[in-house]
């Protein structure tokens, strides 16, 4: 609402929703987490100086450090660092003024930062999660928590991760909508710069992969707080977690690496002065990888009990997915041929990344051969291999930092210092990770290694400090640039092609006057009027029907809102509170806890502190969400843009809702999948329906289907501008939703009165958690409906623009459809 304060004011950074500001916040925060994750690594590498450890860390501390190092680097450094660039440069590259949903963008940043704070705070809440970044079951449930001597801290790690996933989901919706619907005139999908392509494919993968992780973490959270038994049994729990985690985890490898690849493509083209060889095939190869990434996850489970046929299939898909990367690597190599290669700092980092990636790729082929994988599983070979791949990605991202630094800061950096940092970095990198190949027989996450590996581990530790030094040198180079660097021109790099170099360094708040257009075949900035054919500029300012429809012709877009930050804080406080609930819950349920259930040895003690924190968090969330809902925040949609294939009568918000629902489909899919998996494992017929009768489910099916009808009627009324009708049908929808919850409460109540709870047995956990997840969706729907009714009563909302009613309807129908699946599964089968 308010004007954006200047960049030197702290307030600016709390309220900004501008994509460039948010990009800088992402980059700075990611570097902070890099430093924290790096320090953890230095500490445990020091511990590894001697076989059996130097005594610096206890076994449990070592596990905590290793676990948090992995989590922080993969989740809180790598991806967000890449998304810092994506925030800053994707809109510039595609000719957009900002992301489609600027407040949502700010919100995903605050969720990201605060989720990381929660994960780091875990160390001070009795010890962070110590079960490895893969969180394998059943070590990840509270039964084994006493061995880790912490509940609150390790819960905080898990909920930090959950909050991070929410941040990613918001980012996904935003980038998906922006890239698909805000491209400049003339820029078809094929024409997008490769960095933007890499981000588009990354968010497509994120959409499905992170939704699976979200589901896994929700189930794990339920296990950890409410003592359900998803991951606590010896009835397939371990394999279930591995499937869920790696279904997310393998695409995650490409999610982390693709943006780095995109930067390599950009830097190679610019600094070789040549266009990418085989560009079309490179894009096709990337699309193939993105699709296939969901079919290879079981290669992380070759040594488990999955059968030979599945292993063979997974081996085939794994080899299949490695081939497109061969093509990409060769495309980069041939782009240098006949070029004019300039060894600037960003190019050195990109070239270094390519060399390291080649080594990482070759050592990966070893792991693709199942017989070898049997021997390499759980050893330093794996550690060395994935560091070569992942940190090769980091190398390219650092290249990106140098490449775009002049654009972001308006200052050039010192090439000498930059190259020096690269030399130290490259030596340090190979000194850390190459000896790990030589020490490959060492089991992962172990400090009792055999004596003949000592030299390699010591070299690796030395390398870690060299690599750490190089990171400090990079930071020093950039600080030096800020102080003493020459003023950067708009385009410091000869042969750059993409639009960010056509605007000032740094670009103004709204990037350019008018709008970007490629209608003539190359970039032009034209007055923001509807396009006529061929990009010819119409005489300025003729108001069209479309512009009139928007109704804000003269209004300036907003760039500042405090509510994303406030919602982030509320959510943080809420999850912090949840983290400490376990002992209280244990104390409360103990009298009803089954004697044959998984052993709970954590001493239960009623605590009033954490429940209070949870409630405070909910209150902050509620107030700030409401405030954001009523805030008048104007974000124009571009009048002219390339939108294929998401044009037509879709608008940004509707597309966002669809994308969100698509991810929610995966969340429920994973929850239902977990049910099917565990039930099949135990024997399908061995489960009886948990509800005391089928009729409450049937009744609720009728209730929800009727509410789908009333919400359609509400939309019809809104279209007609009939306020009373709209209020009536929206009210009826709410009433039906409440009736549904009433029946549900009765049904649960009957079970409780029979002494059967969610922790009574595995099938009870499945029933209560899955239907509970659905009920949570109903409750959220009810809150939205209540808010809408308030808006209709208070400001006659939706009578002129009925679209929000339609969006709510989409969500509500989705929740109804999910129930149609849950009813037969839980009541009839």
């Amino acid at each position: 609402m308010s004007d954006l304060p200047p960049r030197r004011s702290v307030r600016r950074w709390l309220v900004t929703t501008n994509h460039k500001d948010v990009g800088i916040l992402y980059l700075a925060t990611a570097i902070a987490f890099l430093l924290i994750g790096g320090i953890l690594a230095l500490v445990f590498r020091l511990h590894l100086l001697e076989p059996g450890g130097t005594g610096l860390l206890s076994g449990n501390e070592y596990n905590q450090y290793v676990t948090s190092h992995g989590l922080l680097m993969v989740f809180w450094f790598l991806s967000p660092f890449a998304f810092g660039f994506a925030n800053y440069f994707v809109p510039l590259q595609i000719g957009a003024k900002d992301l489609a949903f600027p407040r949502l963008n700010a919100m995903s940043y605050w969720f990201y930062l605060l989720s990381g704070v929660l994960a780091v705070a875990a160390f001070f809440l009795g010890g962070s999660f110590a079960g490895g970044w893969t969180l394998y079951a059943p070590l990840n449930v509270p039964t084994y928590t006493p061995a880790m001597e912490a509940t609150t801290g390790s819960n905080a790690t898990v909920f930090g991760l959950l909050m991070f996933v929410i941040s990613v989901t918001m980012g996904t919706v935003n980038f998906m909508t922006t890239i698909h619907r805000h491209r400049a005139e003339g820029m078809g999908l094929w024409n997008m710069p490769l960095f933007t392509w890499s981000i588009l494919l990354t968010v497509w993968m994120m959409l499905f992969a992170f939704a699976a992780l979200l589901a896994a973490l929700l189930l794990l959270g339920a296990d950890r707080i409410f003592l359900t038994q998803y991951f606590a049994t010896d009835q397939g729990s371990g394999l279930l977690w591995a499937h869920l985690f790696w279904f997310f985890g393998h695409p995650e490898v490409y999610i982390v690496f693709f943006p780095a690849l995109g930067i390599m493509f950009e830097a190679f083209q610019t600094f070789c002065g040549r266009r990418l060889v085989g560009r079309k095939w490179v894009i096709i190869a990337m699309v193939l990888v993105a699709v296939q990434s969901f079919l290879v996850w079981m290669h992380h489970m070759f040594l488990t009990t999955i059968n030979l046929e599945i292993k063979t299939l997974t081996m085939a898909t794994t080899i299949g997915i490695s081939l497109p990367f061969d093509l990409m690597v060769f495309a980069l190599i041939y782009t240098m041929v006949k070029g004019r290669v300039r060894f600037t700092t960003p190019f050195l980092y990109s070239l270094g990344a390519l060399v390291l990636f080649i080594l990482g790729g070759i050592t990966g082929v070893f792991l693709g051969a199942i017989v070898l994988d049997y021997e390499f599983r759980g050893t330093y070979w794996v550690v060395a291999h994935f560091h070569y791949v992942m940190v090769s990605g980091v190398t390219a991202l650092i290249g990106g930092l140098y490449y775009w630094w002049p654009k972001m800061t308006g200052r050039m950096y010192s090439e000498f210092l930059g190259k020096l940092s690269f030399a130290v970095y490259f030596i340090g990198f190979n000194l850390v990770y190459f000896p790990m190949f030589l020490a490959w027989e060492t089991p992962r996450r172990v400090f009792h290694y055999s004596g003949d590996m000592t030299l390699w581990h010591q070299l690796s530790t030395v390398g870690a400090f060299v690599l750490g030094l190089s990171v400090l040198m990079i930071i020093a180079t950039l600080v030096h640039s800020l102080r003493y660097g020459a003023i950067a021109p708009d385009n410091p790099w000869e042969y750059s092609r993409t639009a960010e170099w056509a605007v000032p360094s740094p670009p103004p708040l709204e990037n350019w006057d008018g709008r970007a257009s490629y209608a003539s075949g190359s970039l032009e900035f034209v007055p923001d009027t509807p396009a006529t054919d061929g990009g010819a500029v119409a005489d300025g300012g003729t108001a069209t029907a479309e512009a009139a429809h928007a109704g804000h012709e003269e209004r300036h877009p907003d760039h500042a809102s405090i509510w994303p930050f406030a919602i982030g804080v509320g959510t943080f406080v809420f999850f912090l509170g949840l983290s400490g609930l376990t002992p209280t819950v244990i104390e409360l349920i103990e009298p009803y806890y089954p004697a044959d259930g998984p052993v709970i040895t954590t001493a239960g003690e009623i605590s009033y502190l954490y429940p209070a924190i949870t409630v405070v968090g909910l209150a902050i969330m509620g107030v700030s969400l409401f405030k954001m809902g009523v805030e008048d925040f104007y974000v124009p949609e571009p009048r002219v843009a390339e939108r294929w294939p998401f044009g037509g009568d879709l608008d940004d918000t509707k597309m966002g809702v669809w994308v969100f629902l698509a991810s929610d489909v995966v969340v429920f899919g994973a929850a239902i999948g977990a049910y099917v998996f565990l039930r099949l494992h135990e024997g399908w017929a061995s489960f009886d329906p948990i509800p005391f009768a089928a009729w409450p489910g049937l009744l609720n099916t009728y209730i929800l289907l009727t509410s789908s009808f009333t919400v359609i009627m509400a939309l019809v009324m809104a279209e007609r501008g009939n306020k009373r009708g709209l209020l009536g049908f929206l009210g009826a929808t709410m009433a039906l939703g409440l009736a549904f919850m009433g029946v549900k409460a009765f049904e649960y109540g009957v079970k409780f009165s029979q002494g059967e709870f969610w922790f009574t047995g595995l099938e009870y956990s499945l029933y209560f958690v899955t239907t509970g997840l659905h009920a949570l969706h109903v409750i959220i729907g009810l809150l939205i409906a209540a808010f809408m009714i308030y808006r209709i009563v208070s400001i006659d909302a939706y009578l002129e623009d009925e679209r929000p009613v339609e969006f709510f309807g989409l969500y509500w129908h989705f929740v109804d459809i999910v129930w149609v699946f849950l009813f037969p599964i839980f009541y009839l089968m």
Binding site: N60, L239, F330, I333, R340, V341, L351, L523
Partner: protein, 249 residues
């Protein structure tokens, strides 16, 4: 008969040699091109990329596909070769999963040690006894969390997952006592790092003798047990009390 060690050495060597050759060639070619086409300050030809152009691809697609096809052939043939050996490993050296008189040992991991169950109820903890030169089939599972049982020297490994039984085999050729040869390869808690066990490889006849002795000792124990049944009951009660106390930690 090829042991797991033989299989591994064959295949690892081939992968290592080919991998090194391919790696050296590709990296050298990359660096060669970077050097050869370094910017010499000559004026750009007309085809140079320009700011604001709509992206298109550069020339040189044929070479790209040739290299790609070559790399695909290398990778696919390597993996196909490895697959043949996989089938050998999966079925075992006798060409059948554990035959009728195969030696089978059930391995159970628990935080933080290993139990071994031999025939006739013989059990050991922390030390695994196997006969030299014979195929030993193992069934690996876990009593608590996910572990992974591995003997690096014997190139054998199997995940130990609660409720699952992962079967594999190995042949230990050299008799001897191998301290800490058995390690845990999956993070399993605070004692994971030290979760090792010893491997004792005996001559086949010694192994039989050892098994016989253990069996006899077991029978003696059972007789003792019957004699002092009352004592045992008392002991059990005492143990239970201890458990309860431990539980409140």
């Amino acid at each position: 008969m090829q042991t797991r060690v033989d299989v591994f050495e064959d295949i690892f060597m081939i992968f290592l040699v080919l991998g090194t050759i391919v790696g050296v060639i590709v990296v050298a070619y990359t660096l060669y091109n970077a050097y050869k086409y370094r910017d010499t300050g000559e004026p750009a030809d007309e085809d140079a990329p320009t700011l604001g152009e709509l992206p298109t691809g550069g020339q040189g697609g044929k070479k790209l596909f040739l290299s790609f096809a070559l790399s695909a052939v290398v990778v696919i043939s390597l993996v196909a070769y490895a697959y043949v050996l996989l089938l050998y490993v999966e079925t075992g050296p006798e060409g059948e999963n554990p035959g009728e008189d195969a030696i089978e040992i059930d391995v159970e991991g628990w935080a933080f040690d290993w139990d071994f169950h031999y025939e006739d109820g013989v059990e050991t903890t922390g030390t695994m006894y196997v006969p030299a030169g014979e195929t030993v089939w193992i069934n690996v599972t876990s009593d608590d969390v996910w572990h992974s049982f591995g003997i690096s020297d014997q190139r054998v490994k199997a995940d130990a997952i609660p409720g699952e039984y992962d079967q594999t085999w190995f042949v230990a050729e050299e008799p001897g006592e191998y301290e800490d040869a058995i390690e845990c390869f999956e993070l399993c808690g605070s004692g994971h790092s030290g979760m090792t066990a010893d491997l004792v490889v005996l001559e086949p006849e010694e192994y039989e003798e050892w098994l016989e002795e253990e069996r006899a000792a077991l029978e003696e124990d059972e007789e003792d047990d019957e004699e002092s049944e009352e004592d045992t009951e008392n002991d059990e009660e005492a143990e239970e009390e201890e458990d309860d106390e431990g539980g409140e930690d």
